[in-house]
């Protein structure tokens, strides 16, 4: 149907741009959300620690269709989250870019929390105690001691969160609605090409995805041999 020659067409390029934009926004939000969660998990002695840790890790285990289906139902006009958001004046999120961002943050959260959690634990209490004896306040200790020491963890969290969002498919398919320019990301575009038997176009995008993913992981492993542990 479109572009028999098999190169990427304008729609493919729009999907690529949208995917990069989504992954960028999601990575920023992931770091903002994952840092306090990981810090708390690394420092707390609360019994809730195991429960919170398990909840954060759920997307690692659940099929994306489960998460996508529950988000679709929960965010819908009859769902609890959908009603809450509507009351706050935030329009229905399914079929919008905002909805994809929310879903992707939830789906990629463990990939950001785990390296940060491990990195904060690796920092240990000793440097923070030393800083405290030098009269550094809690904020100062966090920003001038913990964050610099946990830098490999931040790098791993950002790269893994970004890459995982790029590779996301099931959740996006469930709540995206496949709208060009706002929810049709590369993985969905590839799926469409394959379903429509446009194998040549599918190959261009799929091979690009493969090369990109390999390059990202190569970069990550070069600087950080154990990325999921978040230490050097």
């Amino acid at each position: 149907m479109t572009g028999g020659a098999g190169m990427m067409d304008a729609a493919d390029l729009r999907a690529v741009w949208l995917t990069l934009k989504l992954a960028g926004v999601v990575t920023l939000l992931l770091l903002l959300a994952a840092t306090p969660i990981a810090w708390w998990l690394a420092r707390t002695r609360s019994r809730l620690k195991t429960v919170v840790g398990a909840v954060v890790a759920l997307p690692l285990v659940l099929p994306p269709t489960v998460l996508g289906f529950y988000l679709l139902v929960a965010l819908g006009p009859h769902g609890p989250l959908g009603r809450l958001l509507a009351a706050l004046g935030i329009g229905p999120l399914p079929f919008t870019f905002g909805g994809l961002v929310l879903a992707s943050v939830l789906y990629s959260l463990p990939f950001a929390v785990q390296p940060l959690h491990n990195a904060f634990e690796a920092v240990g209490t000793r440097p923070l105690e030393v800083a405290a004896t030098l009269r550094a306040g809690p904020w100062d200790r966090f920003w001038s001691v913990a964050v610099p020491l946990a830098r490999p963890g931040f790098l791993a969290a950002a790269v893994l969160g970004f890459a995982h969002t790029i590779g996301e498919f099931g959740v996006v398919l469930m709540i995206g609605g496949n709208i060009e320019g706002s929810t049709r990301v590369v993985s969905v575009q590839i799926y469409d090409h394959v379903e429509a038997l446009e194998y040549a176009q599918a190959h261009w995008l799929a091979a690009g995805m493969l090369a990109f993913s390999f390059a990202v992981l190569l970069l990550l492993y070069t600087f950080n041999p154990q990325p999921l542990r978040g230490r050097r």
Binding site: L72, G177, E195, A196
Partner: protein
Amino acid sequence: MTRFAALPAALALLAAAMPPALAGEVQVAVAANFTAPMQQIAAAFEKDTGHKAQLAFGATGKFYAQIANGAPFEVLLAADDATPLKLEQDKLAVPGTRFTYAVGQLALWSAQPGVVDGGGQVLAKGDFAHLAIANPKTAPYGAAAIETLTKLNLLARLQPKIVQGESIAQAYQFVSSGNASLGFVALSQVWRDGKVTSGSAWIVPEKLHAPLRQDAVILAKGGANPAARALEDYLKSDKARAIIRAFGYGL
């Protein structure tokens, strides 16, 4: 070693307990929109013939890709008539076994009563945020929905409101969850025994789109399997046709 000596004996016992050799098994790929009727037909088929039909449900385009790459399906019940033809041309299906098992019916449906009127006027009013359809590129029901909107001269106006499901099953899910207030679905999804099961619907007149002919075909892998032939015969029987009609398909 002696511990495993009982295994062959147990297997022999198991084999003896199986039904007679005549009862075969057939692997069937079924278009998603035909899920509910096919489950009933397969149950009746097993009861009447002893053959067991193993069903897999999904998008017809995906089945094509899988069959072309060696999937073990023996019969395909497609959502269109083009895919079985293509499979025959590719020598992946047995020539002369194609036939129309059902003619699909498109419906505009809302999960809420009173939203969709009997004449589909709700489309022209455009008083809704999202209209769900199946992906027109890959799903015949999606293509029929676009054709209908084009004939009604509403496509340009409603295009920004369209959300696409990967298959007709997902279009249904968008509407049933209320995320889209209405959408084009397969009548078989919302129809039992002569009436709409819930919400409100407009049965789209057949003159608004090309007929949704759904063809079945025996695939190359099932050419020598008597159970595959038996299933094809069974689909043409009065009993199966009654089930198919009860779900709102034409024949």
